[in-house]
Amino acid sequence: MITTEIAIIGGGPAGLSAAISAASLGAKVAILERDGRLGGQLIKQTHKFFGSEKQYASTRGFDIAKILEEEMEKYKDKIDIYTNATVLGLYEDGVLTIEHNKKYMKMKPEKIIVATGASEKFLSFPNNDLPGIYGAGAVQTLMNEYGVKPGNNVLMVGAGNIGLIVSYQLMQAGVRVKAIIDAAPQIGGYLVHASKVRRAGVPILVSHTIKRAHGKESVEGATIWQLDERWQPIEGTEKYLDVDVICISVGLSPLTEFLWQAGCEMKYIPELGGHVAIRDENLETSVNGIFIAGDVAGVEEASSAMVEGRLAGICAANSLGYGDDRFEELRRDYTEQLKSLRSGPVGAKIVSGLSKVTVKKQFA
C-alpha cells in the first residue's frame, strides 16, 4: 500500500494546479491520471483562453498544459505522477484502489483532492445510436490529438461555448459545419465565439432541436425542427440537413462518482451541471479531508478550474500543517481571482449555483 500526504484524482487543469500549489507549500503529493498524459481537456484546446494573465489568458489550452507541467518540474521531489492510473474506488477507510499500467495498486493518502472534471451529457432522439454521432469531446480528441477528421459535413447540436469552439475548430480542420442548433431561445456561449463562426457563414439556429438522424450503417443526414416558446416542436418547420456527422454538445455534468462513494453530501444544482458536493469556502466537502476543484465542483471555465485547483491545493496542504506563513495571503488572492472571474453576467449563474452549496467553514 502506497502512502502519501495528498492524492489528487485527475491530472487536468484543476488537478495540476492543485498539485503545484500543495507542493509549493511543502506537501507530498501524488497525481492519479487515468490517461497516458497529463493536461486533461487542455490538450485538446487549440483556442486562446479568456480570463486574466494569472489564468494564462490569451494562451492556447495546449500551451497552458505545457506551462503547468514545467511549473511542476520545480517541485518534482514533492510530486509523484501516475499516468495510466485509473482510480477504481474510494472506500470507506479512505483507501483508493487503482489500476496503474494494468496492474493493481492501493494508496492510502491523508487528504484527497477530487479533480475528476466532467462528462458530456447526451440527448435522446431517434437513431441516436448510429455511428457518426459523437460528443464534442470525442470530436476534439479525434481532430486535435489524432489529426483525424470526423467527417465532412457536421451538424452541431448545442450553441454553448463548447459547441461554438468545436465548430470553429472543425472549420479550421477543413470540415464544413452545416448548422449549429440550440434548443434554447438564445446562444448560450460567449457572443464573440458565436460571431467568429457566424461570419464564416455557419447558420446558428436557436429554438431548434434535432428531430431524428437518418442513415443505415452510419449517419447520412439529420432532420431538425423549430421549437415554439414553450419548447414544443412546431409541425411543418422540419429541415433536412445532408450531414455525415452529428456532434452533440449539450452541456457537461460533474463526474462525481468518488464523492458519492465517499459519502459526501450531494445536491442537485442545475446551474452547476447536475449533482455536486456541498463544500466550504476552502473547497472541503462534508467528508473530512476530501476536497474538490474544477468541473467536478461545478461546471465552468478552465480558468476558474485552475484557480480552484490552486485554492484546494493550499487548503489541503495547510490542513496538514504546511505553509502557515503564506496560507492566508494566498487564500485571499485565489478567492479574489475566483470572484473576479465570476463577476460578469456570465458568472452570475455560477455564483447563484455556488451560493446553494457553499457553507461556512466549521473548523474542527
Binding site: G89, Y91, E92, Q261
Partner: protein, 382 residues
C-alpha cells in the same frame, strides 16, 4: 389520515410481499404492507437470489423443496406479466475438506430420502458439469438439478402485484416510526404517512427487524451482518449451475443475462447496518474465485455492492408470534436464506397468523429457542 387494517406487514421485501399475498389469498381483507423505500430496496434486492434444495436438515430441505415447486410455476400462479427468470441449472456444492466430504454424503442420503434427487460426485464428474472448474482444488461435490436462481426484483414484484390484485395495500416510501401497544396487545402503527389501527403486526423488516422490535420492547435475538457481492460484464453462457463452497467460501452463478454474480461471507464483516463496499472483499473474492474457477479472472468486474444478512445463532429463521406482545409476529433472522425461502415463509406465516396447522412444522423456530438453549443447527451454510 387514520386507517384501519387487519394486518400490517412491515417490510417490502420477498418475505413481506409473500406473506401479504398468502393472507389475501386466504381471504384476509385490509392487509397493508409498509415499506420505507421502494420494494426490494433492502436485502432482497441485494441478494444472490439462488435457491437450493441441498440442505443438511430435514426441515430446510422441505422448506426449500416447497419454494422450488412454487417457483417452477410462479409466473402462472401469480399471474405475472413479466418473467421471474427462474433458471434451474442446478447447484454444484464443492467439498474441500474431509469433514465436508463426510457431511455431504450424509446430506445426500437425507435429501434422497425426502425425494430430492441430489447426488454425490467425484472431482472429475464435477468438472464435467462445470468445465472451467479447477478440480484439483476439491475433494468431491454434490449436485442437484432442481436448484437454481431467479430474479429477485421480478419475483418480489410478482408477489406484490398479485397481492395488490387481491386487495392488499402496499405503501412504499412510508416509514414506521412507532407501534402502539395497549396492555400487551398491538393497537396500531404510526407511519410517516399516518396512523394505521391494527391488531396484528408482522415484522418482516430483515436487517432492520430489531429496530421494529424495540418499538414494542421485544428484544429480537438476531444481528445484522454485511455481506458483499460483485457482478461481472455479461458474457456468453459458460456455467450452468451455481457453484458453491462452504469452506472455500464462495458462491457464484451466471445469470440468464450473462453476468456472473460472485459472493462470499466473512466473519470479520461489520455487524451493524453499514452497507458500504470494501476493497478487502474485492481482493479476497478475486483470489477465491480465480483459484477455483480460473476462467473468471478474465471477466471484467462491473460493480460491487453489499447488503445485510439478518443472522441468528443457529443460522435459522425465527417464525411466529412472541409471548410478550399479542398480535406481534416475526418472520426474521433468515441468515442469508430469506429470499429462497420466500414462498414457504409466505405460506407458513399466513397459516400461523390465521391459527391454521402449518404446511411444514416450524414450531421449534420460535424466538425463545435461543433463551432455552434449543438451537436448531444447520451444517450447510455460507
Amino acid at each position: 389520515m387514520t386507517k384501519t387494517a387487519s394486518v400490517v406487514i412491515i417490510g417490502g421485501g420477498i418475505s413481506g410481499c409473500a406473506i401479504a399475498y398468502n393472507l389475501a389469498k386466504k381471504g384476509v381483507k385490509d392487509v397493508v404492507v409498509v415499506e420505507r423505500s421502494y420494494l426490494t430496496s433492502g436485502a432482497t434486492g441485494r441478494c444472490g437470489a439462488g435457491i437450493r434444495t441441498q440442505w443438511g436438515t430435514e426441515r430446510n430441505c422441505k422448506l426449500a423443496k416447497f419454494s422450488v415447486d412454487f417457483f417452477e410455476n410462479a409466473n402462472e400462479i401469480l399471474g405475472y406479466k413479466r418473467d421471474i427468470e427462474f433458471k434451474q441449472g442446478g447447484y454444484l456444492i464443492v467439498a474441500a475438506t474431509e469433514k465436508e466430504v463426510e457431511q455431504f454424503k450424509k446430506n445426500v442420503e437425507l435429501q434422497n430420502s425426502l425425494g430430492i434427487p441430489s447426488k454425490y460426485l467425484s472431482p472429475q464428474e464435477a468438472k464435467e458439469i462445470v468445465p472451467h472448474l479447477d478440480e484439483t482444488k476439491i475433494l468431491g461435490a454434490t449436485f442437484c438439478e432442481l436448484d437454481g436462481h431467479l430474479n429477485p426484483f421480478h419475483t418480489t414484484e410478482a408477489f406484490a402485484q398479485a397481492a395488490e390484485r387481491l386487495g392488499v395495500e402496499i405503501m412504499t416510501f412510508t416509514e414506521v416510526v412507532g407501534i402502539d401497544v395497549e396492555g400487551d396487545k398491538i393497537k396500531g402503527v404510526h407511519t410517516t404517512k399516518g396512523y394505521i389501527s391494527t391488531p396484528i403486526v408482522v415484522n418482516a423488516a430483515g436487517g432492520y427487524c430489531r429496530q421494529i422490535g424495540d418499538m414494542v420492547n421485544v428484544d429480537i435475538p438476531t444481528y445484522s451482518e454485511r455481506h458483499q457481492i460483485l457482478v461481472t460484464e455479461p458474457v456468453e453462457p459458460m456455467q450452468e449451475p451455481m457453484v458453491m463452497g462452504f469452506s472455500l467460501n464462495i458462491y457464484t452463478q451466471q445469470v440468464p443475462h450473462g453476468s456472473f454474480l460472485i459472493g462470499r461471507g466473512d466473519p470479520t464483516e461489520p455487524k451493524d447496518l453499514r452497507i458500504t463496499s470494501s476493497w478487502q472483499f474485492m481482493e479476497k473474492m478475486a483470489k477465491t474465485a480465480c483459484d477455483l474457477l480460473p476462467a473468471l479472472g478474465k471477466l471484467a468486474v462491473v460493480r460491487q455492492w453489499a447488503g445485510l444478512y439478518n443472522m441468528t445463532a443457529d443460522a435459522q429463521p425465527i417464525y411466529g408470534p412472541v409471548k410478550e406482545v399479542e398480535g406481534f409476529y416475526l418472520a426474521v433472522g433468515f441468515s442469508g436464506h430469506g429470499f429462497m425461502l420466500g414462498p414457504a415463509t409466505g405460506q407458513i406465516m399466513a397459516e400461523i397468523i390465521l391459527g391454521e396447522p402449518t404446511t411444514i412444522d416450524v414450531s421449534d423456530l420460535d424466538k425463545d429457542r435461543f433463551a432455552r438453549g434449543e438451537l436448531v443447527l444447520e451444517p450447510s451454510v455460507v
